[in-house]
């Protein structure tokens, strides 16, 4: 569906985003009220949270098993992978409603978008494929055979590389985004769940849920260069199960969700040191930062809530009830023209 509607709010937001003074000055309060979109895996819905009031403003019903969620680069579309419906749903973040659904292969778990917004990448957990879709026509462009249970998905900042992790094969697969050819298959630690590029594109961070660490790969050589360990006093190593990784836009901090340890570790990206450990809800999966980097919102799978972390003070400031089994969060910025 094309976006022809131009509301006053949209125009204002676009203006705010393009006004350099507002963007450069970090001291100015955000001109745009951010909403967090949280997928509820068992609730079959997305909960929308207003991040000014920190209150739930809407619940969007969806088909079955929503997990992965991604925002288009123009912030006008939110893609949600519906694992048991074999579909991707597209949500309009202004209307807070599903505007389109399309078939996305068997058991889509995560979805991501190319920086130009033209291509969608989907990991099909039940069929060992990384699948490419045309974002406009929704046509399947092709697929890449990866290992067993593909899950983690990341796109390099320049859009040239797509990275997928496979949970049972324990690999990171580097794929050329243009040719859809596999460039490298790298064995990492047990049950890799998520991959993210550092904002400069030089490193790929991969969480190993059962391995209990984060593997840092060099994006150019595609070799393991480091590991982030989580030796946290008072916590059993079995309970430290890194899943989600959220990196700050300046590339200085990584927030690593530790699953059943019920904590988010704040990691200095450069030194790989854990700076602080934040107690959040139970079985924390994925998280998202507000575009102004003020808040981190974590999806806590067992307690059915999200924790809101104030990034400046690194303190949990609020818990908000969402739907059943929250899985991932996405926070779009103001829509771009």
């Amino acid at each position: 569906m094309p976006f022809q509607v131009k509301s006053l709010a949209l125009a204002l937001a676009a203006f705010a985003a393009s006004a350099p003074a507002l963007v450069v000055s970090g001291a100015v309060a955000p001109a745009f009220a951010f909403d967090a979109f949280v997928t509820n895996e068992k609730g079959d819905s997305v909960t929308v949270i207003d991040l000014d009031s920190l209150k739930v403003k809407a619940t969007i019903p969806l088909a079955q098993r929503p997990r992965g969620i991604a925002v288009s680069p123009d912030n006008r579309k939110i893609y949600v992978a519906l694992g048991d419906s074999d579909q991707i749903a597209i949500i309009d973040p202004q209307k807070l409603a599903v505007i389109e659904e399309f078939p996305a292969g068997r058991d889509p778990e995560r979805v991501d978008v190319s920086p130009d917004g033209k291509t969608l990448y989907v990991t099909n957990e039940d069929s060992n494929f990384l699948t490419f879709f045309d974002a406009e026509s929704k046509a399947r462009l092709g697929g890449v055979r990866v290992g067993v249970e593909p899950e983690g998905l990341a796109v390099s900042p320049d859009g040239k590389l797509v990275v997928a992790t496979t949970e049972t094969t324990n690999m990171v697969h580097f794929v050329d985004a243009a040719t859809r050819r596999t460039l490298a298959n790298v064995l990492v630690d047990s049950r890799p769940r998520m991959a993210v590029f550092t904002p400069d594109g030089s490193e790929v961070w991969v969480s190993a849920e059962i391995g209990g660490d984060v593997v840092v790969l060099d994006a150019a050589t595609r070799k393991i260069k480091d590991r982030v360990k989580f030796d946290i006093p008072g916590l059993r190593s079995e309970n430290i199960q890194p899943v989600g990784i959220t990196m700050s836009r300046d590339g200085k901090l990584a927030f690593v969700s530790l699953g059943p340890a019920n904590r988010v570790a704040v990691v200095d990206v450069k030194t790989r040191e854990v700076q602080k450990v934040l107690l959040v809800g139970q079985r924390v999966w994925h998280a998202a930062l507000t575009p102004d980097q003020k808040y981190l919102v974590t999806a806590n799978g067992v307690t059915n809530d999200v924790s809101v972390v104030d990034v400046a003070s690194l303190k949990v400031v609020k818990s908000i009830q969402v739907g059943e089994s929250p899985w991932e969060a996405a926070i779009p910025g103001p829509p771009k023209p």
């Binding site: 092709g142 067993v148 949970e167 047990s190 079995e238 199960q241």
Partner: protein
């Protein structure tokens, strides 16, 4: 719920099947599996699967073991290993042998060795397993015990070349006991079958009760007098027999049945004199796997298994899958050259197996038992997973299940 079985079986058929179903979506040009570095030859791994002559039995026809019980799990594990192997230039195959009645396990093992098998997944009874492990052919082998829960194999009869993937009876009993204590069901009525393994299972339940603070308020033996387990008139007979058998017990919270031979336990629920729940060999059962488990990504494994074999995945299947994955993991880490290298890998910090149980599985160095959570199943769903919260341990909470290091009587030769 069985529509999942109608899903395409083969990766290559996926596109065609999707088109046939009117879901025309995938182009048929499925990319070829990525080849490993063309310069290096493919590494081959032959894995043996050795199983007992007797097929096992059950009271309920729903529980009758399939012909390929266990072996099917190994084959799905091998599929997973081979999917990884495609990227690493490794290929895994299974050489399967079923013992004939009275056949010597050691001889069959020798035959497997002759075919270049170094790693054997074994579903054997206690005696046959020890005989196989002590045979000359096994000296350079690593045997994965998937079918024998005997504590003796982890204790005084332990062997340096036997890795225990199956949980021991002591682990199963502790897992159940922890949950019953958490429920505050501390008064147990124990009913024991008349076969030796029933007695062993009952001994472990008693040990767990003593460890965690339960009391056996009554104990009765259910004699196996032979005959059919179920017959046309059976239902009426059992309805009268079980209440009488369980009558007059002192006040108890739960009845525990120790019946590994499937003679009576499944007849207890809903038929006891007092309205009490049943656990142990029926009712709430501790197990290494349940086909209803869907947590921690288990759904994916259940689907892979059901697609391939059109039946549900049992605990024995899961034990065999786990053994196959352990071998695959060792190979992926370059530690499958021989048995010694593989064992060293399992005992190293690099070994952390993901097996859909919510945490990593590792190996106990004092008796080569795989550390693992135990599921508690009511036959329909997973009721709980032990270790239970609050049962603490100095090193690993998983070591609250079974014989811990200080209790170990295992001295490897």
């Amino acid at each position: 719920m069985f529509n999942r079985f109608s899903r395409p079986l083969e990766r290559g058929l996926m596109a065609a099947a999707a088109a046939a179903a009117g879901l025309l979506l995938f182009s048929p040009a499925a990319p070829a599996a990525p080849a490993a570095d063309a310069a290096s030859p493919v590494q081959m791994f032959k894995i043996g699967y050795l199983r007992r002559a007797e097929p096992g039995t059950a009271i309920s026809r729903l529980e009758m073991p399939a012909e390929n019980n266990g072996e099917a799990g190994a084959l799905v594990g091998l599929d997973d290993d081979n999917d990884t192997g495609e990227f690493l230039g490794q290929k895994f195959t299974l050489v399967s042998r079923r013992l004939k009645a009275g056949e010597d396990a050691a001889k069959t093992l020798d035959d497997l060795a002759g075919q270049g098998v170094n790693f054997v997944v074994a579903d054997l009874a206690e005696g046959a397993l020890v005989a196989a492990a002590d045979s000359p052919a096994a000296a350079k082998m690593l045997i994965f015990n998937v079918g024998a829960p005997d504590d003796s194999l982890r204790q005084e009869s332990c062997r340096a070349n036997v890795v225990h993937v199956a949980p021991s009876r002591a682990m199963l009993a502790d897992a159940l006991a922890q949950y019953l204590i958490w429920k505050q069901w501390r008064k147990w009525f124990l009913v024991v079958g008349s076969h030796p393994e029933d007695k062993l299972w009952a001994d472990d339940l008693k040990r767990s009760g003593a460890r965690f603070g339960a009391k056996i308020v009554a104990e009765r033996v259910f004699e196996d007098r032979g005959g059919a387990r179920q017959s046309d008139s059976g239902v009426a007979l059992i309805q009268k027999q079980i209440p009488a058998f369980t009558q007059g017990a002192p006040a108890y919270d739960i009845l525990l049945a120790a019946d590994e031979s499937a003679v009576f336990a499944d007849y207890l629920p809903y038929r006891t004199w007092d309205p009490r729940p049943v656990a142990g060999s029926a009712g709430l059962v501790p197990t290494s796997w349940d086909p209803s488990s869907e947590s921690w990504g288990a759904e994916q494994l259940q689907r892979r298994f059901e697609r391939k074999f059109s039946r549900r995945m049992t605990a024995l299947d899961m034990n065999a899958w786990t053994a196959a994955r352990m071998i695959g993991e060792a190979a992926a880490h370059g530690a499958a050259g021989d048995a010694a290298a593989m064992k060293a890998f399992f005992l190293s910090k690099d070994f952390a197996l993901a097996a859909f149980k919510g945490q990593k599985l590792t190996l106990r160095d004092w008796n080569l038992q795989l550390r693992q959570p135990i599921l508690l199943s009511d036959g329909r769903n997973v009721v709980s997973v032990s270790p239970q919260e609050g049962f603490l341990h100095q090193f690993s909470e998983l070591d609250t299940l079974g014989y811990d290091r200080p209790e170990s009587k295992c001295h490897f030769k």
